[in-house]
Assembly symmetry: C2
Homo-oligomer: 133 residues x 2
């Protein structure tokens, strides 16, 4: 049963020391045992948990949903459907955000092109910003 420090856990899990402490503070990571001097001591389970959290964050899940995902995982029973619903809901939000950003990119791109054409005396980008929704 190998044991390691918070710095090593950070390295293994691809996160940062402060982030791990933050997750502990908000109750996402369990409080680990300590050395006599008060340093945190971690094991493989903590590493697994941290990787799970990091991966979930990479997929854009907010902390509270990761908390829920962890609960579902620990229940071990058929929470799969529940997980799927959560993931699909999240997917919906991600796609909606993509749409928003795509609309932004299009306007930016179009107005910047106008700029390049140089057909106007005034700046087309500033003009676009002054116009109705």
């Amino acid at each position: 049963m190998q044991a390691f420090s918070i710095g090593e856990l950070a390295a293994k899990s691809g996160s940062k020391v402060e982030t791990i402490r933050y997750y502990e503070r908000i109750g996402l990571m369990a409080e680990p045992p300590r050395t006599a001097g008060g340093h945190r001591v971690y094991g493989p389970k903590h590493n697994k948990r941290m990787r799970f959290i990091r991966r979930s964050r990479e997929l854009g899940f907010p902390i509270e949903e990761i908390r829920a995902l962890i609960d579902m995982e620990e229940r071990e029973d058929g929470a799969c459907e529940e997980v799927r619903l959560l993931a699909l809901e999240h997917l919906g939000r991600v796609r909606s955000r993509i749409q928003d950003l795509t609309a932004m990119a299009q306007v930016l791109c179009e107005t910047a092109d106008h700029c390049a054409e140089g057909g106007s005396t005034r700046c087309p980008i500033l003009d676009a910003l002054s116009v109705e929704s």
Copy 2:
């Protein structure tokens, strides 16, 4: 020269009262004159400025860049090229964010599909979350 209250400015410009006060606090909106009793009094210029800010925010520009855009607009000289550079830089960030989100959406979509197929005893989404980067 029509004058109006902060609530009316919020309605006209499509923003909120608190947001307008916030913009004033951080120096993005000029301090307006006040009534004897201390209520803010706005005119068309404030409305124009608020619309400019709101539109810029809709396009995703951060506050500090909006501050710069306003400066450029007020200079009135040929700041167009500078504006264009700022817009293109921002466009780059937006596109990069779209890529990130698209990658997230793809993973979410694929794993949720696996789920639907039901070929695994364990939840494929939770499995995906437990896996390396």
